[in-house]
């Protein structure tokens, strides 16, 4: 038998070890060497606070009483964890982005940083968690009593009270020491997380050890164990379907909504990626914790004397078999389960109570004296938290004493779960549905709370304890449909399922219904968008758009709340970001929004919002103003945009009209010039034709003169018809009506044709060619091309004024083009005229030499453009030089 004193010594050593672990972890975290503290393994183990003493001891008793139903409590969380991608990932992301400090803070922040919503959730949490804390106190005192009674007289009520007092007191000291050491901006407690991770390992090892001892040591191996289970007088599968479904739902929901689970899962989360491992590792933990429950229950029934408390089989079974070391381990496991749950639950509740009730109340009282309002919020918050921790534990202790520590307490575990779950509709609605509104959240929470109190919590004290028996049987004031266990006259449902069903249904209905008919405030809409679309943009709310606060005031306030070092660090970082290191940063809206989030990490969103609001000179109202202004501005902007677009359109039309007008004018001038030019060109030959034909008609002249005059008339009419041909040609080309006849031929042949057609017989022009370069196949309208060549060659013949005129034809290829250059050795064309020569009727030399009307080069250019090529005047040569380019066709 283990002596009670040894047990106490071992327990105290264990507690001392936990202190040491927590202290070490805090110190490493403070030194910045906390990497291994932030591992997914630690995160997964910290989630194990879900398995309280109720699991450790109670699961076996539960299995003994209700068979496999005990497993529902672990199936629900398993489903939530394996579905992490859906809800938990979103929750953790929101928690990190918005710096959520508790589940009450989440609800309050989502619904427009509303204080009242936070208060309601806090109240629900405290009411629901108190019996659960009492349950932990009970289990530890009961297990202590097992050892004490083995060697002494049975414990009296006073002994129980004393043990419970010591336990609660010790826990309060530990929690205050490590839970409120500082107001961490991130609200994380490395020491405590480390301690509960160690405890998680201890309780798992303890339960597995007992299980292995039972299956292999007592049961004779798994196969025989299975046979024993089959043969046992234990109905494992007897519950009705509604309880099975209802309990899986409640445990799943509670896993998300329990304040302590929210604390370790969301608030203490260091890295979203940890969820990845926890998604399968935590279900494995639950699996291991449940694996041996039935064997222990069966063997306990078989081996323990009739009437033993099945809730303590985990402890008493090894003890009765003389396995003292195992019993000790088992005790430590149960102790770990109880302490870790109480510590985290207390911290979570204390954070909520201080952030949502105490600090706001205090702020409200200080409201009038704005100057004095930030007396010392930092100390106030810490003090509020410490008092809240003590208060929560005291409540648990008082509840334990009042309830008498009987079996009634054991049944309250599920009822406590059902209470916490009342937050679920507002929580899930808040993070998935932007239409959820503030009044709806309050209504759902309150209705859920009332129904839960009426149908589950108050009746749990037993008939007649709080609710008179007559009311339970006939309803309040004889209103039958309000009977606490048969609402709306529907009786015959299991009381637990009845309570869960109605509270959740009415809660959800109120939440959804009121959301549909109400309209959210601007701040709610902002927050709603932030929460629901958290994966789209994880930047913060942009609330403060007027830099009315003084940076100095902000720094003073922040120092008082989160401490001088941390505040100055934040300001220094901001100054760095703004590019003015070493100075106070400017109080930009961005910075103020960030500050508010930092502050929210310590005192909750609603309080932080109120505090910053006091300093910036406008609270939530300014957001409304801003949105109204923004709406108006948006309308004006849109209107002016429309006007601008219209005027731009008109301007474009006017410009187009002006352009068209200018073009028309130019065309008209061109046309006039052209007409006068043409009439001049036509009149000159016409005049000579007319005068010489008159002379001929008069007759009476020598035959030689007659011939000479007829010759002149012929020349002039040839010139006239050529002019008309050219004009016709040009007009066809310019209008694009020309039809090109694609042919293929040798360039040298074409040049030969051109040279012979140019009529050089009576002129002494020497043509220099390099026939080897001319061996090129060309596919284009060859006749047109020859026309261009003829024109260029005859131009050279006409205008070249050298003594021995020469024309060099050079063929080359560059940039995917054939180049055919025509260079003569004359004096060339003056630079100012080089652009003009391609215009119609441009003739530079005197008229006597010119055979044409100055249309030749204009026609050449038109032709070359039609053939996808070009003709240009080559600068930088001594004589006149033209370059004809043609694309190389494949």
């Amino acid at each position: 038998m283990v002596s009670f004193n040894i047990l106490i010594v071992v327990s105290l050593s264990y507690v001392a070890a936990l202190f040491w672990v927590a202290f070490l972890a805090e110190r490493r975290a403070a030194a910045g060497k906390a990497n291994w503290l932030r591992s997914p393994v630690i995160y997964t183990l910290s989630l194990s606070i879900y398995c309280t003493a109720w699991t450790f001891y109670g699961a076996v008793g539960y299995a003994e009483r209700s068979g496999l139903e005990f497993v529902t409590i672990y199936l629900g969380p398993t489903l939530v964890m394996v579905g992490w991608w859906w809800v938990l990932r979103r929750l953790v992301r929101i928690g990190r982005a918005q710096r959520i400090t508790s589940i009450a803070d989440l609800i309050s922040s989502r619904f427009g940083k509303s204080r009242r919503r936070g208060v309601i959730v806090t109240l629900i949490a405290v009411v629901a968690a108190t019996p659960y804390i009492a349950l932990q106190i009970q289990s530890v005192t009961l297990s202590l009593a097992v050892f004490a009674e083995a060697e002494g007289p049975p414990w009296t009520d006073v002994d129980f009270a004393r043990a419970a007092m010591w336990f609660a007191g010790g826990l309060a000291v530990f929690t205050i020491l490590f839970g409120t050491r500082n107001l961490d901006a991130n609200e994380r407690h490395h020491g405590i997380v480390m301690a509960i991770a160690v405890e998680a390992v201890v309780k798992l090892v303890a339960l597995l050890a007992v299980g292995i001892f039972v299956v292999w040591g007592l049961g004779g191996g798994p196969a025989q164990m299975m046979a024993t289970i089959d043969a046992a007088d234990l109905d494992l599968w007897d519950q009705d379907a509604s309880r099975w479904v209802g309990l899986i739902f409640v445990s799943a929901a509670a896993f998300i909504c329990l304040p302590r689970m929210f604390q370790v899962m969301v608030v203490e989360n260091d890295d979203e990626a940890h969820l990845r491992m926890a998604s399968w590792a935590f279900p494995t933990y639950l699996f291991a914790m449940s694996l041996f429950v039935v064997p222990i229950a069966v063997m306990g029934l078989e081996l323990m004397p009739a009437g033993s408390n099945p809730d303590l089989f985990v402890l008493t079974l090894p003890l009765s078999q003389g396995a003292n070391g195992l019993a000790m381990l088992s005790f430590l496991g149960g102790f770990s389960s109880a302490t870790s749950m109480v510590i985290v639950a207390t911290i979570a509740l204390a954070t909520m109570v201080s952030n949502h009730i105490v600090v706001p109340l205090w702020l409200a009282m200080q409201d009038d004296r704005k100057g004095a309002m930030f007396g010392d919020v930092r100390h106030l918050t810490l003090l509020a938290r410490r008092l809240s921790i003590a208060g929560v534990l005291a409540l648990g202790f008082v509840y334990y004493r009042l309830s008498g520590g009987g079996t009634a307490l054991a049944a309250i575990g599920l009822i406590s779960f059902a209470g916490s779950v009342q937050v679920l509709p507002a929580l899930i609605g808040g993070i998935f549905w932007r239409g959820a509104t503030r009044p709806a959240a309050a209504a759902g929470l309150l209705i859920g709370l009332v129904v839960w109190l009426w149908t589950m919590f108050l009746p749990s004290f037993g008939p007649g304890a709080v609710i008179p028996v007559t009311v339970i049987e006939a309803g309040p004031f004889g209103i039958g449909w309000l009977r606490p266990q048969a609402l709306f006259g529907i009786s015959g449902i299991d009381p637990l399922v009845h309570g869960i069903l109605w509270s959740m249904l009415l809660n959800t209905a109120a939440f959804v219904g009121i959301s549909l008919v109400t309209f959210p405030t601007p701040l709610e809409r902002l927050q709603g968008a932030q929460f629901v679309n958290v994966f789209d943009h994880s930047t913060g709310t942009r609330t403060w758009s007027r830099p009315v606060a003084d940076a100095e005031d902000l720094l003073l306030m922040l120092q008082r709340i989160i401490g001088v070092t941390e505040a100055q660090r934040i300001f220094a970082r901001e100054a760095q970001r703004q590019g003015t290191p070493g100075q106070l940063p400017k109080a930009t809206p961005d910075f103020i929004a960030r500050l508010e989030r930092e502050l929210g990490g310590s005192v909750g969103a609603a309080t932080a919002h109120a505090m910053i609001g006091q300093l910036t000179g406008g609270s939530g109202v300014s957001v409304e103003d801003l949105i109204a202004v923004a709406d108006e501005a948006a309308q004006i902007l849109e209107y002016s945009n429309r006007l601008e677009a219209k005027s731009a359109e008109q301007e474009a039309t006017a410009r187009a009209l002006r352009d068209a007008n200018a073009k028309l004018t130019a065309l008209s001038i061109q046309k006039d010039a052209f007409l006068s030019q043409i009439s001049h060109e036509l009149r000159t030959p016409m005049t000579s034709i007319r005068s010489f034909s008159e002379i001929l008609r008069d007759g009476d002249m020598p035959a030689a003169d007659q011939n000479r005059f007829a010759g002149i008339i012929l020349d002039e009419s040839i010139r006239l018809s050529r002019l008309l041909d050219d004009l016709l040609d040009l007009s066809v080309l310019e209008n694009g009506q020309v039809v090109l006849r694609q042919q293929t031929g040798q360039l040298s042949t074409l040049l030969d044709r051109a040279v012979s057609a140019a009529g050089l017989h009576d002129r002494n022009l020497t043509i220099l060619r390099d026939r080897t370069t001319e061996e090129i196949e060309i596919t284009t309208d060859l006749d047109r091309l020859v026309q261009v060549f003829i024109n260029l060659i005859s131009n050279a013949a006409k205008y070249c004024d050298a003594k021995k005129p020469e024309l060099t034809i050079r063929v080359s290829r560059a940039n995917g083009q054939h180049r055919i250059d025509f260079l003569d050795n004359g004096i060339g064309i003056a630079a100012q005229n080089q652009e003009l020569i391609f215009e119609k009727f441009s003739r530079l030399a005197d008229e006597s030499k010119a055979g044409g009307a100055g249309l030749g080069l204009a026609i050449c250019r038109e032709i070359m453009l039609r053939l996808q090529g070009d003709i240009i005047y080559l600068r930088g040569t001594s004589g006149t030089a033209f370059r004809v380019t043609l694309p190389v066709t494949s």
């Binding site: 394996v82 991608w85 289970i229 979203e272 990626a273 998604s279 399968w280 279900p283």
Partner: protein, 89 residues
Amino acid sequence: MKPAGKTPVFLERANYRQRRLGDAARFLPLLGTVLWLIPLLWTRDGPEAPSNAGTITYIFVIWVVLIGLAALLSRVLRDTDPAADTARR
């Protein structure tokens, strides 16, 4: 708040696979629920009723399967949004 046209209508193959894996992760709890509700359909009395050991085995085997699937998914699932871990750092 998402501007229209920000997300494309069709995704390339890798992204498409990631989306479907995300769907699988969302379906996993539904699958678990259905599988764990199945014992409710079993007969309770008579010779055909499953034994205690059989029921326990069924429930725990489903548990192992779910854990396995979750482990598998947690490995292959990727965070597709870029701002995954910049929120608090």
